[in-house]
Protein backbone atom coordinates (compact mmCIF):
# COMPACT_ATOMS: atom_id res chain seq x y z
CA UNK A 1 0.00 0.00 0.00
CA UNK A 2 2.72 2.38 0.97
CA UNK A 3 4.79 1.51 -2.07
CA UNK A 4 1.78 2.39 -4.25
CA UNK A 5 1.58 5.92 -2.84
CA UNK A 6 5.34 6.30 -3.14
CA UNK A 7 5.27 5.13 -6.75
CA UNK A 8 2.53 7.56 -7.74
CA UNK A 9 4.40 10.44 -6.14
CA UNK A 10 7.63 9.34 -7.77
CA UNK A 11 5.92 9.28 -11.17
CA UNK A 12 4.72 12.84 -10.56
CA UNK A 13 8.23 13.94 -9.57
CA UNK A 14 9.96 12.36 -12.57
CA UNK A 15 7.20 13.46 -14.93
CA UNK A 16 7.38 17.08 -13.85
CA UNK A 17 11.20 16.99 -14.07
CA UNK A 18 10.98 15.63 -17.62
CA UNK A 19 8.39 18.25 -18.44
CA UNK A 20 10.74 20.91 -17.14
CA UNK A 21 13.55 19.93 -19.47
CA UNK A 22 11.42 19.26 -22.51
CA UNK A 23 8.87 22.05 -22.67
CA UNK A 24 9.42 25.00 -24.96
CA UNK A 25 7.74 27.70 -22.94
CA UNK A 26 9.53 29.11 -19.88
CA UNK A 27 6.33 29.71 -17.90
CA UNK A 28 5.27 26.07 -18.28
CA UNK A 29 8.72 25.03 -17.13
CA UNK A 30 8.35 27.18 -14.00
CA UNK A 31 4.98 25.59 -13.25
CA UNK A 32 6.41 22.10 -13.71
CA UNK A 33 9.15 22.97 -11.28
CA UNK A 34 6.63 24.23 -8.71
CA UNK A 35 4.81 20.89 -9.02
CA UNK A 36 8.11 19.10 -8.51
CA UNK A 37 8.88 21.11 -5.38
CA UNK A 38 5.45 20.49 -3.90
CA UNK A 39 5.73 16.73 -4.44
CA UNK A 40 9.22 16.61 -2.96
CA UNK A 41 7.80 18.49 0.06
CA UNK A 42 5.30 15.64 0.45
CA UNK A 43 8.24 13.23 0.40
CA UNK A 44 9.94 15.26 3.12
CA UNK A 45 6.86 15.00 5.29
CA UNK A 46 6.76 11.23 4.77
CA UNK A 47 10.42 11.02 5.77
CA UNK A 48 9.85 12.74 9.11
CA UNK A 49 10.98 16.25 8.22
CA UNK A 50 7.90 18.48 8.59
CA UNK A 51 9.79 21.69 9.16
CA UNK A 52 11.93 21.14 6.09
CA UNK A 53 8.79 20.40 4.07
CA UNK A 54 7.18 23.68 5.12
CA UNK A 55 10.43 25.54 4.45
CA UNK A 56 10.61 23.96 1.00
CA UNK A 57 7.12 25.12 0.09
CA UNK A 58 7.63 28.59 1.53
CA UNK A 59 11.15 29.33 0.30
CA UNK A 60 11.50 27.31 -2.89
CA UNK A 61 7.99 27.23 -4.31
CA UNK A 62 6.87 30.45 -2.71
CA UNK A 63 9.81 32.81 -3.04
CA UNK A 64 12.37 31.47 -5.50
CA UNK A 65 9.87 30.42 -8.16
CA UNK A 66 7.98 33.69 -7.87
CA UNK A 67 11.31 35.44 -8.45
CA UNK A 68 11.89 33.25 -11.49
CA UNK A 69 8.46 34.09 -12.85
CA UNK A 70 9.04 37.80 -12.39
CA UNK A 71 12.34 37.61 -14.26
CA UNK A 72 10.77 35.51 -17.03
CA UNK A 73 8.15 38.22 -17.34
CA UNK A 74 10.91 40.85 -17.58
CA UNK A 75 13.09 38.99 -20.04
CA UNK A 76 10.33 37.89 -22.34
CA UNK A 77 8.79 34.50 -22.89
CA UNK A 78 10.08 33.85 -26.37
CA UNK A 79 11.14 30.33 -27.23
CA UNK A 80 14.89 30.18 -27.62
CA UNK A 81 15.60 26.46 -27.93
CA UNK A 82 16.03 26.26 -31.66
CA UNK A 83 18.46 24.06 -33.54
CA UNK A 84 21.74 23.38 -31.82
CA UNK A 85 24.62 24.69 -34.00
CA UNK A 86 26.91 21.75 -33.15
CA UNK A 87 25.42 18.53 -34.38
CA UNK A 88 25.17 15.53 -32.14
CA UNK A 89 25.86 17.42 -28.93
CA UNK A 90 22.46 16.81 -27.43
CA UNK A 91 22.62 13.11 -28.16
CA UNK A 92 26.02 12.96 -26.48
CA UNK A 93 24.62 14.82 -23.49
CA UNK A 94 21.78 12.33 -23.20
CA UNK A 95 24.21 9.42 -23.42
CA UNK A 96 26.47 10.90 -20.76
CA UNK A 97 23.46 11.49 -18.54
CA UNK A 98 22.32 7.90 -18.94
CA UNK A 99 25.78 6.62 -18.00
CA UNK A 100 25.74 8.82 -14.90
CA UNK A 101 22.34 7.51 -13.94
CA UNK A 102 23.35 3.88 -14.29
CA UNK A 103 26.50 4.48 -12.25
CA UNK A 104 24.58 6.22 -9.48
CA UNK A 105 21.91 3.54 -9.36
CA UNK A 106 24.51 0.76 -9.17
CA UNK A 107 26.33 2.62 -6.40
CA UNK A 108 23.15 3.19 -4.46
CA UNK A 109 22.16 -0.45 -4.63
CA UNK A 110 25.54 -1.97 -3.92
CA UNK A 111 26.30 -0.12 -0.67
CA UNK A 112 25.60 -2.35 2.31
CA UNK A 113 22.52 -1.72 4.31
CA UNK A 114 20.58 0.67 2.13
CA UNK A 115 17.97 -1.95 1.31
CA UNK A 116 16.68 -1.72 4.85
CA UNK A 117 13.61 0.22 5.73
CA UNK A 118 13.50 3.30 7.87
CA UNK A 119 12.74 2.40 11.47
CA UNK A 120 10.21 4.19 13.60
CA UNK A 121 11.22 7.76 14.30
CA UNK A 122 10.71 9.46 17.68
CA UNK A 123 7.61 11.59 17.94
CA UNK A 124 9.35 14.93 18.07
CA UNK A 125 11.66 14.23 15.13
CA UNK A 126 12.23 17.07 12.71
CA UNK A 127 10.02 19.47 14.59
CA UNK A 128 10.84 23.20 14.51
CA UNK A 129 11.68 23.06 18.21
CA UNK A 130 14.33 20.41 17.76
CA UNK A 131 15.83 22.09 14.71
CA UNK A 132 15.69 25.46 16.45
CA UNK A 133 17.58 24.16 19.45
CA UNK A 134 20.19 22.65 17.19
CA UNK A 135 20.49 25.78 15.08
CA UNK A 136 20.70 28.36 17.80
CA UNK A 137 22.66 26.40 20.39
CA UNK A 138 25.10 24.18 18.51
CA UNK A 139 25.38 25.79 15.09
CA UNK A 140 25.20 29.49 15.87
CA UNK A 141 28.31 30.30 13.83
CA UNK A 142 26.99 28.86 10.53
CA UNK A 143 23.74 30.70 11.19
CA UNK A 144 25.56 34.03 11.51
CA UNK A 145 27.56 33.26 8.38
CA UNK A 146 24.35 32.47 6.48
CA UNK A 147 22.85 35.76 7.60
CA UNK A 148 25.90 37.67 6.33
CA UNK A 149 25.64 35.71 3.08
CA UNK A 150 22.00 36.67 2.63
CA UNK A 151 22.80 40.31 3.34
CA UNK A 152 25.58 40.19 0.75
CA UNK A 153 23.23 38.60 -1.78
CA UNK A 154 20.63 41.31 -1.22
CA UNK A 155 23.18 44.08 -1.65
CA UNK A 156 24.59 42.34 -4.70
CA UNK A 157 21.19 41.99 -6.32
CA UNK A 158 20.45 45.68 -5.78
CA UNK A 159 23.84 46.78 -7.10
CA UNK A 160 23.71 44.52 -10.16
CA UNK A 161 20.34 45.75 -11.31
CA UNK A 162 21.00 49.46 -11.16
CA UNK A 163 20.82 51.39 -14.39
CA UNK A 164 24.23 51.73 -15.99
CA UNK A 165 25.03 55.01 -17.67
CA UNK A 166 27.25 56.10 -20.47
CA UNK A 167 29.97 58.33 -19.10
CA UNK A 168 28.88 61.90 -18.52
CA UNK A 169 25.25 60.97 -18.02
CA UNK A 170 23.16 61.62 -14.97
CA UNK A 171 21.53 59.02 -12.76
CA UNK A 172 17.77 58.97 -12.50
CA UNK A 173 17.95 60.64 -9.10
CA UNK A 174 20.12 63.45 -10.41
CA UNK A 175 17.80 64.00 -13.35
CA UNK A 176 14.85 64.18 -11.00
CA UNK A 177 16.67 66.71 -8.82
CA UNK A 178 17.63 68.78 -11.80
CA UNK A 179 14.05 68.87 -13.01
CA UNK A 180 12.60 69.97 -9.67
Amino acid sequence: MEILVLSILAIVVVGSALGLIMTERPVYAALFLILNFATVAIFYMMLGAPFIAMTQVTVYAGAIMVLFLFVIMLLGTEKVDMKEPLRGQRFLAAAAGFVLLVETAVLAISVNGVFSKISQLPADYGSPRQLGILLFRDNILPLMIISVLLLTATIGAVVLSRHQLKSGGLTIEEKREKRS
Partner: protein, 99 residues
Amino acid sequence: MPVTFFLVLSAIMFVIGFLGVLKRRHVILVFMCLELMFNSANLVFVTFASYYHDINAQLFVFFVMAVAAAEVAVGLALMVAIFRTKKSIDVDLMSSLKG
Protein backbone atom coordinates in the same frame (compact mmCIF):
# COMPACT_ATOMS: atom_id res chain seq x y z
CA MET B 1 9.88 2.87 3.39
CA PRO B 2 12.94 1.66 1.54
CA VAL B 3 15.93 3.92 1.46
CA THR B 4 17.09 2.75 -1.96
CA PHE B 5 13.88 4.06 -3.49
CA PHE B 6 14.67 7.60 -2.43
CA LEU B 7 18.31 7.35 -3.45
CA VAL B 8 17.48 6.16 -6.96
CA LEU B 9 14.72 8.77 -7.27
CA SER B 10 17.11 11.54 -6.33
CA ALA B 11 19.69 10.14 -8.77
CA ILE B 12 17.07 10.30 -11.52
CA MET B 13 16.17 13.87 -10.58
CA PHE B 14 19.83 14.84 -10.56
CA VAL B 15 20.47 13.37 -14.00
CA ILE B 16 17.36 15.00 -15.44
CA GLY B 17 18.47 18.36 -14.05
CA PHE B 18 21.97 17.77 -15.41
CA LEU B 19 20.59 17.03 -18.88
CA GLY B 20 18.47 20.13 -18.66
CA VAL B 21 21.49 22.29 -17.85
CA LEU B 22 23.38 20.88 -20.82
CA LYS B 23 20.49 20.97 -23.24
CA ARG B 24 18.76 24.26 -22.59
CA ARG B 25 19.66 27.54 -24.25
CA HIS B 26 17.30 29.81 -22.34
CA VAL B 27 19.31 31.05 -19.38
CA ILE B 28 16.43 31.08 -16.92
CA LEU B 29 15.66 27.44 -17.74
CA VAL B 30 19.28 26.57 -17.01
CA PHE B 31 18.84 28.12 -13.56
CA MET B 32 15.67 26.15 -12.98
CA CYS B 33 17.39 22.87 -13.82
CA LEU B 34 20.11 23.85 -11.36
CA GLU B 35 17.43 24.18 -8.69
CA LEU B 36 16.25 20.69 -9.57
CA MET B 37 19.76 19.38 -8.91
CA PHE B 38 19.82 21.16 -5.55
CA ASN B 39 16.53 19.51 -4.69
CA SER B 40 17.80 16.05 -5.45
CA ALA B 41 20.73 16.59 -3.08
CA ASN B 42 18.31 17.81 -0.41
CA LEU B 43 16.25 14.66 -0.82
CA VAL B 44 19.31 12.50 -0.19
CA PHE B 45 20.13 14.53 2.93
CA VAL B 46 16.63 14.16 4.36
CA THR B 47 16.56 10.43 3.54
CA PHE B 48 19.75 9.77 5.44
CA ALA B 49 18.64 12.05 8.26
CA SER B 50 15.70 9.77 8.86
CA TYR B 51 17.64 6.54 8.24
CA TYR B 52 20.44 7.28 10.69
CA HIS B 53 18.22 9.26 13.09
CA ASP B 54 20.63 12.17 12.81
CA ILE B 55 18.95 15.57 12.77
CA ASN B 56 22.09 17.42 11.65
CA ALA B 57 21.43 16.44 8.05
CA GLN B 58 18.09 18.25 8.14
CA LEU B 59 19.89 21.30 9.41
CA PHE B 60 22.23 21.06 6.46
CA VAL B 61 19.21 21.01 4.14
CA PHE B 62 18.15 24.27 5.74
CA PHE B 63 21.54 25.80 4.97
CA VAL B 64 21.45 24.50 1.40
CA MET B 65 18.09 26.17 0.90
CA ALA B 66 19.36 29.48 2.24
CA VAL B 67 22.43 29.39 0.01
CA ALA B 68 20.31 28.42 -3.00
CA ALA B 69 17.99 31.36 -2.39
CA ALA B 70 20.94 33.76 -2.19
CA GLU B 71 22.44 32.31 -5.34
CA VAL B 72 19.17 32.60 -7.27
CA ALA B 73 18.77 36.23 -6.25
CA VAL B 74 22.24 37.22 -7.39
CA GLY B 75 22.10 35.07 -10.53
CA LEU B 76 18.81 36.51 -11.69
CA ALA B 77 20.00 40.07 -11.04
CA LEU B 78 23.03 39.21 -13.15
CA MET B 79 20.78 37.87 -15.93
CA VAL B 80 18.71 41.05 -15.92
CA ALA B 81 21.88 43.13 -16.20
CA ILE B 82 23.19 40.98 -19.06
CA PHE B 83 19.85 41.16 -20.86
CA ARG B 84 19.98 44.93 -20.74
CA THR B 85 23.21 45.04 -22.73
CA LYS B 86 22.88 42.01 -25.00
CA LYS B 87 19.10 42.05 -25.51
CA SER B 88 19.18 38.27 -25.74
CA ILE B 89 18.71 35.33 -23.38
CA ASP B 90 20.52 32.75 -25.43
CA VAL B 91 23.34 31.09 -23.50
CA ASP B 92 25.27 30.37 -26.67
CA LEU B 93 25.56 34.09 -27.40
CA MET B 94 27.06 34.88 -23.99
CA SER B 95 30.51 33.73 -24.98
CA SER B 96 32.63 36.88 -24.88
CA LEU B 97 34.87 35.35 -22.20
CA LYS B 98 35.76 32.45 -24.46
CA GLY B 99 39.51 32.18 -25.03
